[in-house]
């Protein structure tokens, strides 16, 4: 009965916008199912199974072949739905000729450990036949899940945190312990589930618990009334915020999202485990240019985050560093109640101690953050403006007398971000979105003037409100010049303010420039297309920055 239950779980999770509801639904599910199916459910819900057994395209072609639907019609449907697995599920409705649903009692375990993996043992013809067989013998309500697992696109709106919370609530064990147990190579099995809900907590698990993170607020004008000497200034790095914990010899790396990421960064875990002291550090993980001592793009860090057990060559290609900016615990002593300026002294003291141990050179993976010493507020502003030069996002300003409390507490830590770069550009192409944005034109391309011509310079899809998206979608449908597949070229009429983080020369683009993180920050309905910026303006901007 379990695939049935899991299907129901999926529907319930999918049709609720309330976190509490979702937790309730998950709790009930874990309560009423056997350990093996529970372990598979956790595996699926935490996104550990994203293996693609066949592609969406393959599935569409197969359907077209079996049921004699033209491929173009399936593709047209896709534009409305935005997900191949779902399109096929909807098209499969009432298609099955067999009345008997032999697979209606299949367990989640059997489907995932046997039925689906076995497909890869078959040749193409057998595989196609088998998929058709499964479609016919599986009740329609389960088609979506089957197709999604098959295409590696099973996703539902629950975070790992939510799963952790539900299990934690159901069996009454702290969330951090569950997180710790879910970390790593969670392989679905009766044992792994039993281990997950084991009430006996061992010391290692207890020791890995992070402190609640202290977060920075956006700067407010009133801060400038204070003396500059009341504050500590740091660069605001664009990396992953982490607590690096070492207790009783074990190292754990915790993100702000309660995720343990030891496996993505094994070299850091390795190095830090050799330090003699125990500690809890708060800091930032970055991909680092060691020669120039400068942070590299966040996009490179992304290549590391989602990759577990990275190979040695990946580690060399994307070298990481942990930059500590705070010491919260040292050799079992919680020092969060000590003033920041004194914690900094401790941090510096221990750092130099660790650094001087020559048998363990940590400087190729660990450092403490440099402080900045502006003379006055205008000077601080100058530093902020310079932050792009060293690939930081601005400044973090911390009150020297503050203690390390939790959450986004006002008046303690401030972020002072550098303003984004902006150009006004003309909308020239639109493309249909996928997933949640299916059926709407939500992917836009923007152009700048070069003499009399509009040259594409950036694509963006974020920044508009849902209401604006709908309004623009209507306009797009009425002002299409030409259609190329899912893309429409548009009457040049709409001007948007595009913000981005970085601008550089690029030979790959017709415009000759590439921008990073372009996003729409304003729909300039007040501007005509002649008011839009030119490529020359873009080059000037580039010059000004470098």
């Amino acid at each position: 009965m379990s695939l049935k239950k899991f299907s129901e779980l999926f529907v319930d999770l999918d049709s609720s916008n309330s976190t509490n509801n979702k937790i309730e639904v998950l709790k009930n599910y874990f309560f009423s199912n056997d350990p093996i199916d529970n372990s598979w459910a956790i595996y699926l819900l935490t996104g550990k199974s994203n293996k693609r057994f066949i592609s969406g395209r393959y599935l569409k072609n197969l359907f077209s072949q079996i049921y004699e639907y033209p491929v173009w019609l399936i593709d047209t449907c896709y534009l409305k739905v935005g997900d191949s697995a779902e399109v096929i599920t909807l098209l499969l409705k009432n298609k099955s000729t067999s009345r008997k649903k032999e697979l209606s009692n299949i367990s989640l375990n059997e489907l995932l450990s046997k039925t689906i993996p076995d497909l890869s043992k078959l040749n193409e013809e057998e595989k196609n036949l088998q998929i058709k067989n499964i479609w016919e013998r599986l009740p329609e309500d389960y088609h979506l899940i089957f197709n999604k697992i098959l295409t590696g696109t099973f996703r539902v709106g629950v975070s790992i945190g939510l799963i952790t919370k539900s299990i934690s609530k159901q069996i009454n064990i702290d969330e951090e312990i569950i997180s710790h147990r879910l970390m790593g190579n969670f392989k679905p099995s009766i044992d792994s589930y039993k281990f997950l809900i084991n009430k006996n907590i061992n010391l290692e698990e207890l020791n890995s618990k992070p402190f609640p993170f202290l977060l920075a607020n956006t700067i407010e004008d009133k801060i400038f009334k204070n003396s500059i000497n009341d504050f500590q200034f740091e660069w605001k790095y664009d990396g992953i915020r982490l607590q690096l914990i070492k207790r009783s010899g074990n190292v754990s790396l915790w993100t702000r999202g309660q995720e343990l990421v030891n496996e993505s960064f094994p070299e850091l875990v390795e190095k830090m485990s050799h330090i003699k002291d125990d500690f809890v550090l708060d800091g930032e993980l970055l991909v680092w240019n060691f020669k120039e001592q400068i942070a590299l793009d966040f996009s490179l860090l992304q290549k590391r985050i989602n990759r577990k057990s990275p190979t040695r060559s990946i580690q060399i290609k994307y070298p990481i560093i942990f930059i500590a900016y705070d010491l919260l615990e040292i050799n079992g002593r919680d020092i969060r109640e000590i003033k920041l300026e004194n914690r900094r002294i401790e941090l510096e003291k221990y750092f130099s101690k660790w650094q001087n141990k020559t048998e363990n050179n940590i400087s190729d993976i660990f450092k403490i953050c440099d402080l900045i010493f502006p003379n006055d507020w205008p000077d601080a502003l100058t530093y902020k403006e310079k932050s792009r030069e060293n690939n930081t996002e601005g400044l973090i300003i911390k009150k020297k007398t503050s203690i390390y409390s939790s959450g986004r507490k006002k008046g303690i830590w401030w972020k002072y971000k550098v303003d984004p770069m902006q150009l006004d550009a003309v909308l020239i192409y639109a493309k249909g979105g996928s997933g949640r944005r299916a059926g709407l034109y939500t992917d836009y391309s923007f152009a700048l003037w070069k003499d009399e011509e509009l040259i594409k310079f950036a694509s963006a899809y974020s920044g508009l409100t849902n209401i604006e998206i709908k309004e623009l979608d209507k306009w797009i449908r009425k002002n299409t010049l030409e259609k190329f597949g899912p893309v429409r070229s548009l009457k040049p009429e709409m001007v948007f303010e595009i913000s981005f983080e970085k601008i550089q020369i690029s030979k790959r683009h017709k415009s000759g420039i590439a921008v990073r993180f372009p996003r729409i920050t304003k729909w300039r309905k007040d501007k005509k297309i002649n008011d839009a910026d030119s490529l020359e303006n873009a080059y000037e901007l580039m010059k000004k920055i470098s």
């Binding site: 999918d14 049709s15 609720s16 916008n17 309330s18 639907y69 033209p70 173009w72 019609l73 047209t76 449907c77 409305k80 739905v81 935005g82 997900d83 779902e86 399109v87 909807l90 098209l91 409705k93 009432n94 997933g435 949640r436 944005r437 299916a438 059926g439 849902n466």
Partner: protein
Amino acid sequence: MRTKQEYLIRYKDGNLYCELADIWIDPSKPVKKALITHAHFDHFTFGCEEYISTRETAILLKERVGDNIKIKTFEYGEEFKINGINISFYPSGHILGSSQIRFIFAEEKWLISGDFKLQKDETCKQYEIVKTDYLISECTFGLPIFKWDESNKIANDISKWITNSPEKTSLLFCYSLGKAQRLLNEINNTNFKGKIYSHGSIHKMNNSYKELGIDIRDTIKIENKKKIDELKGNLILLPPSLSKGTYLKNFKNIQTAFASGWMSIRALRKRSGYDKGFAISDHADWDGILEVVKKSEAKNVFFHHGDSEAISKYLVEKESINVLFLGK
């Protein structure tokens, strides 16, 4: 091949128009003479000199917009003549009073489907198959991904949805005319035995339906929306317009759903912002449209209201049916 001006019915200024009779079908701007297929507001505009519709549509329209309009009415199947053209209404199964309109001139038959569905609906007359040479059909859901479940299954799902959350007030959003009454009729046969409340706009239509002899579940008109949080375990029907804006802001103890054919697509369901979607529609699904095309025996078809490209291309390729272009 005729040019579009030579067809009996064609598009003019964004509306269907029969020049020989000088009559418009569901016009969106004031004209002299307007045929009205049904009483939904997107098929009606104020200011026409004369309206012609079925008797039921006229009653519903007057209930909605007041008595200050001039409507001539005919029964289903009753023929009338305008400038030598024979015109008659046939049930389209969309809502109470909704109709297809057939024109006959010089032995050539034209049929305008109006909004229609083939599914069972006890609150209005069943769609009647009408033979024609030319068919002008709506195709709101003209893609094969749209396949409706039986309405009693949806009603049971709704009933389950309410009874599974006895601690919450269930808010079901649906069009006030047609959909609401169809749901009330279907919910009568489910296990849900709690109270049903309805918003004033829906309540008014419920009364009209009852006066016209339609059997639907009684509802209580919501007088004080502040109480919504206290109505746990019960169902409230509301028009979709209220889901936007501030109406819902102050309620904590509610769950929301939208009853519409679009809710069969997950992305639309998610984007709608409702907790849940029930895919029930008063329009035909893909198979329904194809069935009507086939059974009407039309040799020439024109599609409007929807993604007409896909279904047109499909019919040309698969069924060798001639697809017309009658303008926009």
